[in-house]
Symmetry: C2
Subunit: 114 residues, 2 copies
DNA sequence: TATTGACTTAACCAATTAGTTAAATAAAAA
DNA sequence: TTTTTATTTAACTAATTGGTTAAGTCAATA
């Protein structure tokens, strides 16, 4: 119900939430490829792939540049940055919470034992 | 068009793709909270929050246990693991690609200069 | 210049998402 | 036992997603 445009982190995580798109990213990590090459392993029409690619382009995770009559896609290696940083930061913070919970439980336990 | 149930990585990234859900996770990193406490900062009905929580529960990122007439939510600190590992692995791999591209470009450049 | 090849865009459809309000549930308090 | 509090579930809606096929676009080739 919200027409506001999603922020970059939303786009990145959304892009990553689909297995076809993750597979495309994995493929592109091995080097650039044309749309046709990217589509080949999937049992899915070309337009469907084309739209997955658009999602990735809009998330700034790949770009897509014309090369003769092909269209060559390549990874933007900085693209995972935002998502990775978010996860990394919060994972540490979470572990921190876990540690604090440990301390809390240990405290309670030793209180109980004493 | 696909009724197959999503895999855990899909669920995790999907859960993270919404700013309300990320904010809830950030809040829970500071410690457990009831549904009402979690809902309070948002201009959104309680049922809406309740469903965001369900998404997080189904992604195994939080749990939600009855405590008297409240319902107390807490983080499952291991929950970011899968997503983090995926990102971390691929980011490295990706930087690898970038390095290889650098080498490739430098090689071409020195070829050009010689 | 007409055709072919490689895509993308358009138009459509079914399923899912993210919100709403109203009704149900379950435990605590009166 | 009735009421209140906290929350979920149900029923609904609008927008978005992820697929389809058919029609366009645009560069290379015949």
């Amino acid at each position: 119900m919200n027409a506001a445009e999603p922020n970059p982190l939303d786009r990145t995580f959304h892009a990553l939430a689909d297995p076809t798109r993750r597979a495309i990213l994995v493929r592109l990590a091995r080097g650039p490829a044309t749309v046709g090459e990217l589509a080949e392993p999937f049992a899915m029409s070309l337009p469907a792939i084309s739209r997955h690619l658009r999602v990735l382009v809009e998330a700034a995770m790949i770009h897509n540049q014309r090369d003769g009559k092909r269209r060559r896609c390549r990874l933007r290696p900085e693209a995972l940055g935002g998502a990775h940083d978010w996860l990394d930061f919060h994972r540490r913070f979470w572990s921190g919470s876990l540690d604090r919970l440990d301390v809390h439980l240990k405290t309670r336990l030793s209180e109980h034992n004493s």
